[in-house]
Amino acid sequence: MSDTLLDVDDLRITFPTRTGLVQAVRGVSFSLGRERLGIVGESGSGKSQTGRAIMGLTPPQAEVSAKKLAFDGMDLLSISPRERRALRGNRIAMILQDPKYSLDPVMTIGRQIVETLRTHEKVGKTEARERALAMLQAVQIRDPARVFDLYPHEVSGGMGQRAMIAMMLVTGPELMIADEPTSALDVTVQLDVLNILDKLVAERGMGLIFISHDLRLVSSFCDRVVVMYAGKVVEQIKASELRDAQHPYTRGLLNCMPKIGFERHPLPVLDRKPEWAA
């Protein structure tokens, strides 16, 4: 087992649209070990599309290329679609940015977790149900038995997000891409969920890509941070050193968050320079 789990070199993703080509990702490179890597960046900078490309979930009309896109030594761009599917939801899992949209709307939350579990392991119905309930409990869902029987439109934003997390956890992946996994959770539940992810990294050696807008969480939770802007990585930095970031985008980000007890109206905003997107 090598230390590098994932190697991304010069990843590019292009979409055709009515008004021309959109270069969503323009040469992204980073590598990931058995650690917590944060990805932060401008809205629309290509974070989710980067995650989706690693998963093999890029929309079919888009063009994906890379000098290297390797998971555990395997070239993801040249293996067969069948091998890719086998990796997905098995050794690699992704918590999608919008859970309610990614859950099956006509299947109850409980059944979705049970089915995911049963495609992975030979377990009986009763045991599967019990484990699914235990997972919902682990992500701090109040009254798991009620939520088990609810459909996605019947749960709150944060409950949907946690159902999605529970579903990904039952698969025990080696690489987890979590796209804004806690954005709809209240701050105390956020920390509970991070504790679960943290354990998987520390105890099972899982590699975690944590895409988040929440700089406070990223700087306190992750080991390293990749900062993206306009489809590129503009800075890579140790999470604990985020305060000393060099790139003006990163510095600007830190400055424009509201802080409890420091009134600033209006909030400072970024003066985006064209050369940042060069």
Partner: protein, 248 residues
Amino acid sequence: MTVSITVEGLEVVFDRFRALKGVSLELREGESYGLVGESGSGKSTLLRAITGLAPASSGTITVNGKTLGKTRDKAFYREVQMVFQDPYGSLHPRQTVDRLLQEPLAIHGIAEGEKRIERALDEVGLGKGFRFRYAHQLSGGQRQRVAIARALILEPSILLLDEPTSALDASVQAEVLNLLEEVRRRRKLTFLMVSHDLAIITHMCERLMVMQNGEAVETLTASQLIGHRVSEDYTRNLLRASEGFVRV
């Protein structure tokens, strides 16, 4: 003082589950009021009940002096607009941004669509290039900005905002919060705003209610929260958790 929204003893029940257990609230005209609390505590349900999307089984809701029944008329939506928590579900993915913004204007028979659409997109920081994109071609944060533009385009007097910036990076978040504050000041809007980010709530709101399990835990002014002058343990936990992750 003019009252904008009064909610009294509101109960919402789904099957047998009580999502709201007698919640009361009073918003003054022009005020910005925050809702924070546990995930699943009923914050979205409260906003949805005001807009008629969640069934109230008892209690009353009064908006601009009018006590509401089960249904809402067109005039209501001219006054009250909501930005939904999930930007994916609330915008039809196969419609262009242009269509999404035309629609409310057409429903309410508003002329000058062209100008309003351009201004609305400009206000939320989306350039002209986005106007003919389909919603499914946008990132999470770009969708959220379209949703905000769509709510503002009718120039309502009350805006219900459910986690309006949780899908945005800090720089776009700052722009959207500034925009919301500015339109509020300019058009004397009343805000009822849900966020799990206490810093955003204290930045945007004068008063707030903390919710847990379908009930109000306590109501506070922003300065009480800032000064940690709170009486409930749950609120104290929220304040502590707001400081970030601590590895044990």
